[in-house]
Structures are given as structure tokens and as C-alpha cells.
Symmetry: D2
């Protein structure tokens, strides 16, 4: 169950303090030129130590491709890859060997498996998302050839938000990476960054929302019943560490409104192009893409590691007081952005390949 996807599939492995993390990409179409710099760039965007508002763990996170690429092109065979761990401080966690922290996965892992690598969160560490970033970056190499683009950005931190309709006026996506928060409105980004520093200064953490926009999708992606494109995206996003909510298009707020207001009227322009006057459907109708941009939002909870005394429990069920150590993010949002993009890219490519399968 460490595999994501139906045709394009990522199977991943690795613990925070083991020798390496990595995975296997299956179902990658053949003949796609691979730009390793672009793949490494996405890893760098997820990398710890990239700015002063993320964890200080310093990992190079260099990806090594072991198969499936021959003379710069994919061959249709599986792509194995690894990323070595280097800057582990395993001793920071010795006090947690048998202790389960609040709102972490320590207790549930211990109960499910009866054994657990406690170092740095072990398997439940968000460090494992780096394999998703590699998978997503490879998927993007294929999607790029079809004119599909995917942008995610931080739209809320605490109660600091972009305006509701920002996604419609999103100008140059290049702005997203001009600030460490990855928010495309410079002034809002500055407020978010200041707030994260304030929270960090108190040893606390804060959550927020990442918005993702996918453009250039053909009409017809998604399977109409259980594997609706929105259902697949929801599962993809809710599988990311710390995700607590997902909404597409009109989302929760639009659902309080009337049908007469929220329906997206069809528009045919003078060149015969079909679109909708509004995009409350978020680019998906009946589970299938309708050619409009796909827009969704993912809520991430505040990081569970707060630097203060908390009430834990041992694996055996005894109460225990815990004082966290280690290096942690005050806010997961900036580093979640490339992970959201990666999961979106894999989901879209998988849907494209599935769609081809039944076109006669």
C-alpha cells in the first residue's frame, strides 16, 4: 500500500534516519526526454534548510536515477531512484524510543505494527514526501509535452489569506518562488513570513492552506464513478502528511449558495471554443475534466511538534510527559507546495494514461 496510481505508479520506501529513501516509477511513457536539473530543482524546493522559516536539518537531497532512462530518454521500463540521508541526528530521538507524542503517528504506528523506528518520525516523517516530489517531477516531464502546467502556492497561513478570487487573477507564477513562503502576492507573503517568525519565536507552529491550479488539461480526464478526477485528487492530497481538508472549485463556501448562482453557464466563443462563464465546478463535472482550469485547495494542520512540555503516552499505554527535541518546521506550508504539485502531476498523468486505455 506504498504505491500510488493505476498506470503511472510510484512505489516508495524509506525512513527519516535510514540509509536512503527512494522509489520506483512504473508506467512512465517511453521516449520522454528527462531534464535532471528540473527534477532536482523540485527536490530543492522541498529540501529542509532552504530558508530560515523551515527546519534547520541540512540535507543535500540529491536524486540518483538507477534505471529506466537510456541516453537521456525514458524507455518505458521502471525508473528506480534513491536519495541518501546524511544529516541525521538520531540521538535527538533516543528519549522517544518508547514514547508517543501528541498528534503524531507514534502511537498508531506502535499499535498497528508492534514495532517502530522511532528516529525522526521513522516512516511517518514528512521526509518521505521527497519520493513523491521525484515522482511528480518525472510526471511533469511527460505533461509538459502536452502543454499542461501545474502551480501550487500558499494561500493562507493562520488567518492571513489571499483574496478569495485570487486564483482567477494569478499573474506570473514566477512570483511564487520569490519569497520563502511561496505566496504569489508579495505583500501578503511578507505578512505571512512575519507571522511564521513570530510563531516560531514562541516555539509554536501554525497551519494554513495551499491552492493548486492546473491549466491546459484536455476535456475527458477522470473516471466517472469511484475514480472521479476530484476523488483521485482528494485522496492524493489527503495522503500528504498533515493534510486535514480538501475542496475543489466552489468548495465548502460555494455549497452554502443557490444553484442558480453557482451553475457554470456554457459559453461558445466566436472560434467555437467551449468554456464556462464561471468556474465554480473547478474544472471538473461528473468527475471528468471539462477543459477549464482545475482548482483545488488543501488545508494543512499546524506541525505537531511544539517546543513545550506535553502529555504523551508510552507504547505500552502509560502516561508520560514529553519535551520535544530535534529540528522542526514552524509551518509546513512552504515545503508542502512542491509536494502538492507532485501529487497533482502524478494524478493527472495517471488519469491521462487511463483515459487513453479506453479510447477505441
Amino acid at each position: 500500500m506504498n504505491t500510488y496510481g493505476n498506470i503511472f505508479r510510484l512505489t516508495e520506501f524509506g525512513e527519516s534516519h535510514g540509509p536512503a529513501l527512494g522509489g520506483v516509477i512504473d508506467g512512465m511513457p517511453s521516449g520522454i526526454e528527462i531534464d535532471l536539473d528540473r527534477i532536482q530543482h523540485q527536490l530543492d524546493r522541498r529540501r529542509p534548510g532552504q530558508s530560515t522559516i523551515v527546519t534547520a536539518r541540512d540535507e543535500k537531497d540529491r536524486v540518483e536515477i538507477l534505471s529506466g532512462v537510456f541516453e537521456g530518454k525514458t524507455t518505458g521500463t521502471p525508473i528506480g531512484f534513491i536519495v541518501k540521508n546524511s544529516d541525521q541526528h538520531s540521538s535527538d530521538y533516543e528519549n522517544l524510543r518508547d514514547v508517543c507524542r501528541p498528534s503524531h503517528a507514534d502511537y498508531t504506528y506502535s499499535q498497528k505494527y508492534g514495532i517502530r523506528d522511532h528516529r525522526g518520525g521513522g516512516r511517518s516523517s514528512a521526509r518521505a514526501t521527497l519520493s513523491r516530489v521525484v515522482g511528480g517531477a518525472l510526471a511533469m516531464e511527460a505533461l509538459r509535452t502536452q502543454g499542461i502546467r501545474i502551480y501550487a502556492y500558499t494561500s493562507s497561513v493562520g488567518s492571513i489569506n489571499l483574496p478569495d478570487d485570487f486564483e482567477e487573477v494569478l499573474g506570473d507564477p514566477a512570483v511564487i518562488d520569490t519569497n520563502p513562503v511561496r505566496c504569489p502576492a508579495t505583500d501578503v507573503a511578507a505578512a505571512m513570513e512575519a507571522y511564521i517568525r513570530e510563531v516560531k519565536g514562541k516555539g509554536d507552529t501554525v497551519g494554513g492552506v495551499v491552492t493548486c491550479v492546473i491549466t491546459g488539461l484536455p476535456v475527458g480526464l477522470g473516471q466517472p464513478v469511484f475514480d472521479k478526477l476530484n476523488a483521485r485528487l482528494a485522496a492524493a492530497m489527503m495522503s500528504i502528511n498533515a493534510a486535514k481538508g480538501f475542496e475543489v472549485g466552489m468548495g465548502f463556501k460555494g455549497c452554502t449558495n443557490l444553484g442558480s448562482v453557482m451553475n457554470d453557464q456554457w459559453v461558445v466563443d466566436s472560434d467555437g471554443r467551449v468554456s464556462t462563464s464561471t468556474n465554480n465546478s473547478g474544472g471538473i463535472q461528473g468527475g471528468i475534466s471539462n477543459g477549464m482550469p482545475v482548482v483545488f485547495r488543501v488545508a494543512f494542520k499546524p506541525v505537531a511538534t511544539v517546543l513545550r512540555q506535553t502529555d504523551g503516552v508510552t507504547s505500552g499505554g502509560e502516561p508520560v510527559s514529553v519535551m520535544p527535541r530535534g529540528r522542526h518546521d514552524p509551518c509546513v506550508l512552504p515545503r508542502a507546495v512542491p509536494v502538492v504539485e507532485a501529487m497533482a502531476a502524478m494524478t493527472v498523468l495517471d488519469a491521462m494514461l487511463l483515459d487513453r486505455a479506453v479510447r477505441w
Copy 2:
């Protein structure tokens, strides 16, 4: 892709105006006593024509079990079932043979498949959810033997909401079905019902939110990476017709808060029972159930069929004006409640069976 689940699996078929809908349940444990009345009861809760605030289509929706049950008990072999259609008014839809309505699946189906049963929404009709209700009711027969209970209810209609903390004080779930809205607070229910009638009177529609609470779950359900229990629930819920948002535990609102506030502290009572002081995690940590109630919310959009002239498009891409006919729900929430319960039941049973698979 008309199959849901890994071990416990529902494969379903059927169109709104075809001879019958139905499905196959695979992976049902053997030796479970089946109470057909309880299964029919869940179908009756989803049935059209059950009250004056839902569609007037009058279907008996009687389920016929064709296999897999022998002398009142499951045998571990697949359970085939059908539900015959009877009260179709196919002629109501003849004007839609080649017309795609706003915010419906007409256009995306036409483009994906090149052909479409246009009668009553065809395959994209919410009528297809009745097979899910049968699957969920069968799953509940197994879960019941383990002390697991699942309740869903309408928590918002338009801007009329239950209080935020209602799920914690939810008293007698039997109240849910004492009103046609399926809202467990009688006064709020009355306001919702009045509002739905008002909207219906204008030929309009309205959306809202269904909340679901699952109690009695053991610790350990859910696979920790891509198949997190919350990810599976998200996919299950977002696959229901008209769903636009999903959140678990603290959800979107809690994600604006601080870690120090939202962390669920561990509590060990004098009998050694482990729980948490709050349930912002919604019963799931690291993708695995922690023994607390699982709580999630699903946002449903207003029904797309509004009884007024709208801008459609033909399958061929020509603009066309559409005036809907047929019998429709002004608000999907009351009938969505048993569907949410059904998807939750199938998801939980599947997670239980998967969990057993790797217990050595």
C-alpha cells in the same frame, strides 16, 4: 473503474432509465447473518419520493440478492444484487438527447465516450448511488458484529448550521430520522426544512454539509502512506455525486490555528484506557485510527438542475438554450446522508480486512 475497495469491493452498474441497477460485493466475510430488512431500510432512506422536500420520482427500490447468501448467512462468495427501475419518464429527456446542461456531466461524458444515454442523466444520475447503499448496508452487517456504529446527518443547509461542536454533544442518533432533513437538532431541522421549501418554491436549489461520526473503531485501521484512512475516506466521499469538499477533524478552520492549541494531548484513565483530551485529529493520526471517534464533513453543491432557462451547449459544441424538465431534488442533503454512511461503512470494513492481512 466502477469498483470501490481493495478487499471488500463493490462493483456497480446501471443507468437511471435502464432496466435495472445493481452490483457485486466481493470480499464479504463468511458467516455473517444478513438482515434484509435493515438493508432495505437504508435503501428506503435514499429512495426518491420519501418526503415532499425530495424528488417526486416514485421508485420502490427493492433489492434482490442473487448469490453469496445461503440460508441467511454470507458464504464468502460474491453477492450479486439488482434493483429494478420502474417509474422512468424517459420522454421528459428527449429534448436533452444532444444537449448538455450547465454544471451537469452531460458535456464531459459526451466528449469522453462519444456516446451517452441522455435519459435522466444516464450513468451520471445520482440514482446510481443506490448500489453504494446496498454495499454499505452489507458492510454494516459485518461492522455491527464488532461494535462499530456509523451516523451521518445534515449539519448545514445554505447558511443554516448546527453549532460547531455539535458532533461532540450528539445525543440520541435516533433523532436524525425524525425529520425529513435528517438533522439531529429539531429546531435547526425545522429552519432547514422551511428554507428548502422556500428555495424549491422558486425553482431553485441549495447545497450544504453532511457530518459523519464513526464510533467503536479499534486502533490501527488505515495504511500509513497513500492509503491513509483519511485519504480513503476523502476519495470515498468526493466520489459521491455533487460532493465538492471534505475535511476531517479540525478541518479547514482548525488549520488556521496554532499547534499548541490544536494538539490532542494523550490521556490515560484510571482503568488504563488511552484516549485524547480533544479530538482535533478526528480520530486519525498518521493515517491510522487512534481509537477516538472518526469525524468528517462533506460539502455538497446545490443540485445543478434549476427550473429556469440556462445556457447549454450541444454535444457538437454549438450554443443552445436549455429549459430543464423532469423531477428533481431541491436539495440533495437528506438523501445524501445514507450514501455518506454507506461509503464510510465500506471504507472502514475494507480497512479492517486489509489490517488483518498484515497482522502476523
Copy 3:
């Protein structure tokens, strides 16, 4: 686990003495014209009571299609179907309620599930293969549009065999159905038929081999590692009741020979068509079709029900003597022929759809 296939998928249900058997076909391409007579014809070839060398149970085996076909064409949505049972003699089996016969599935089912529908073999009855025949016949409707043809025939009954190289000289496949054995050489068929009658007269049963030839396949079908076309065909065939062996191309006999003799040399004709001088590979190299006919053989054991006193065991593990009753086939081969074709058709169509999925 009652589902076969990845993209084109049959999920089936039903017991020998229940109200109906049936299934759901998922992944059927849209826009395929369906000739119901051809589908019924394949069912008729599998039907009991069709000749005096098969079981006397008299079933009409009429297929009812419940969804997925609109105005004579497939819509890409799942095709539900049922076949009602009518001529059951359940009382013939009352003495077997708690008795497990030799070389039947009675004991293993009882031990696995703790409960079993004992009537007519219940779920383990070869009657369940009729759903496969429906699935295969639907797959053939799609394959036919691509010029692909599939023929199976009886090549051995007991020690009466067609010559080894018969598959290469197979003339008019229409001969296959001119005799009740379904052997394409009239004289050999006569000998087989006489032998089956002789065996039947003694209350005994006999096994044999079915050969299958698939022509018109494009180069490139099959996934090269675990889902090799030959591996998929092997699983498909070995999943048929009573199958005990599978071989492709040179098979067991060719494996005793030298590489220099068995290698298939490449030949390019004057029109640039690529083929091989021999077909010891059976049309598959590296798990992928090479454009030559795919040829394989399936061995079926003698039917386990022999009309004489045998040593059984109760579900509880007590020894018991069993004297079988009921109506049974003396030789499964004639009725296995359409089942082999059906499994081959579903396997090939699934491989074609999967192949499309990764063509960029």
C-alpha cells in the same frame, strides 16, 4: 477476487443452484456495436444439454443485459448482466450437505469459509464459467473490429490426439463445430466421441487438451515482466475449473530440444513484412506479442464425479463413503472450448487496452 483483468474487467457472481448468475463488465470501449445473437451463440456452445456427450441438465442460459448498451452500442459504462437458473435438482445434493467428495472443492471451501452452498457444487460449479463466456463474447465484439480472431478446439481426449503440427495446418475453423467434441479433424473427432461414450457407459470420466490459436494480433501486446502475455494467459487458463496444465508455443516437448533447433529465425518478405520461419515462441517473445499467431494448450483433468462408491470426508473431518448422484459431464472438453476462447478474448482485449495506456 472474483474480478478478472486490469482495464477490461469481468466481476462475476453466482452459484449453481441460486436464482441467477451474472456479472459486470467494466472497461468496455465505447461505441462498439453489440450483436446479442453472437453472445448468446457462445453461451449456447457452453450450455449443458447441447448433445448426448455432455450433462443432461437442461438450461436455456439466456443472457439479459441490464446496462452499458444504449441503442445497440456500448457507452463505455459498465455492462451488468444476469443469466437465470431454472433446471436445478437441488434435492440430488441433499446427501452432500455435509459430505466432501474426492477431488472436488467441497473440503477446501468448507475449511476456508466455514460454510458452503453444497447444492450442485455451489460456487465451485463449472456453471459459473457462463459469466466468463458472456465477458469473452463481449470482448470479441471489440476485437473483431481489429481483425483479431480466436479459435479453440479439442486436440486430445484421453490418448486420442490431433497430430502435433495440426495447429499450423488448421484449415476451416468452421469444422470445429460440426461435431459434438469440437475437434477440427472429422475422423479424430469421431474416435474421440466414441471413446467418450464408452467412458460414459462405464460411469467414468476422461480428460484431455484444448488448443487455442489467436490470429491478427498486433506486435507489442503484453507487459514485459510480471504481466507477460503468456503469464496472463496462463493465469486465465489455469483459473478455469479442472485445468491442470498450460503451455505456449514449443511447450514442454520443445524444452527438451536444442536452442539451435528451436530458435525462430526472422524473415522479412519482399513487401517488408516481418515474421519468423518457425513459431516455437508461440507468438510471444519477452512476454510481448511478435505478430505471429499466439498458440497455447490447456490440459483439463477428468471430471471428478465418477458414478461409483468413493472415499469422502465430512466437513468435520470424519471418513464417509459417497455415492454421487446428479447429472454430470463424462468429459469437460467440448464445453471447455468456448470458455478457453472467452478467457483468451478477455486477456487479449485487456492487453490491448493496457498497451494503449502507455503509448505516448
Copy 4:
């Protein structure tokens, strides 16, 4: 499609001349002690260069485990592993860059993917089976705790065979590895070895049969319809490079016989143990293990690389003459033995885990 299994799953990657091969084991039960020497031992049995009757390529084939094992025990999380390539002679293959050899996968890969790593067979090299051996060895670590044992051995090389009933009298399995052919009868082994040397001396190759015996299985493994234990084993074995045939129990020969002769009569001994008087069913009835040893045979074709001039074809479809170079096996059987064991072990463990999933 480079994944094998449902619950216990191997996903593997790697080419013959790339930097490394490897894979990910998912679904491994937690808490199993892992003996790395036993795993390496199985790899050594598959290793090239182990004797003078196998290829001279000299690879150390050291496995590196990267995750999923903590302080010597499995944690239930995925086990990533790699095996580095070292002794490649890539230049031996430069003449094959655009040439497709007879009875190899060169042509079918080229046509399917449009691109191919031609060095040493690339992805289609039997070298990729080493990942299966790692997966199988890990599965054996779990099966061992349940008293299950798996032995494979060479039973035929060319026309030199073990006696038909040898599997029933198989004495000390330790004899299997006392000769380079891996045949448990010393005299037959000597004849086989002499024959392989003779064939090798002529630059030719020869095929044969591997027999596999699994003891200690509980009653009840296998899903009764499409995922019969025999069907899963057939797919597993036919997915091994060069496999052309599979038979279980009575196999092809037994299928020519009468039911009255081949039926396995039930026997209950004085201690109440249930078994059968013969084992023509090969330990499987109705697709489910019956507690008797599971016995099957796999036919392997002669290696396609024969050291003489042959008729090839270019990727573009032009005729070309090929004279093979490189280091090759004259007979694949000795090195196939551990691969057969590995696929059997993974299949059995997966069936055990699936069986647990539906025991209520």
C-alpha cells in the same frame, strides 16, 4: 506492471548494464527477524559465475537493504533494496544497438516502446530475476515461522529426466545443492551435467524442467475463482524469463487418464488427520490448498543465444545476419531453481495474507 502480488508485493526495476537493480517489498508482516545471510545465500545460488556450466559474467550480487528493517526485524514498512552491477561488458553489445536477435525480446521491445537499452538484453535480461530472489528470500523468512518449506530442483535437462514419481520419494533436499545442476539424484545429475558441457562445447543451448514442492501449507490458501492458487502459481512461473509451460499435480500426462484412476480418495488417519491417498491434485482443489504438498513443474526453453550465425532483423524491419557475442548460459535450469523458489514463496505468502484478510 512491474509489481507482483496483492498484499505482499514486489515492485522491481533495473537493467542488465545500468548502475543497479533493485526493488521495493511492500506488505511484509512486521516483527519478522531477518537473516541477511540466508537472503544473500539465495542470491548466490542465482549468481552468474558460480560454476563452469553457467555464464562467466562475474557479479558479486550483494544486496543492500535500505529501509523497513529496524534492529534486525521488519517494521511493516516497505523494504527498499538495491544490487549494484559491476562486471558489465557493454561494448560486447554495441553491434546489437539496432539489431534484433532470433527468439529474444529485442524486436518486441523495440516495437512496443520505440526505444530500447540494447546492452546485455537491457530490461529483458534474466539478470532482472535477482530482485525476485530477494523478494522470495524475504517471503521465506516469514513462511519459515509457519513451518512452510519450498524446494525446487532440476528434473529434466534435454531428454534426461528424473523418474516420474521422484517428487514423492524426495529424500534429503540438501542433496539438491551438491551438484551444479541442482538435481537431487546424484547419478542423474552427473548425466545432466555431462550433457550440458557437451551442448556448451558446440556453442549450443538446451532447456528442461524444474519441479517445485511446497510442504507445510495450511488448508485454505488461494482464492477460488480467478485467483486460484494454481492460477497464481502459473502466472508467477510463466512470468520467469524462458518459461514455456506449467503444470500442477497430474499435469498434462494425468489428463489423458480416467477419473476413476486420477481421483484422490480422502483418508482420515487414526489421529483424525485428513489427507488424500494419492496427490494427483497437486495439493490444490478448487483453487484452494488442501493440506497436501503442492507440486508443480515449469518448462524452460533452451537459451536463445546460440553461438552461430543467425537471421535477425533491425528495429526498422530490415533483414540482417547476427553473430552473438557476450557471455551466456548454455542451460538456464541451474540458475532458474532459486528463481522458481522465490516466485513460489512470494505467491504463497501473498495467498496467506489474503486468506487472513477475509477470516472473520
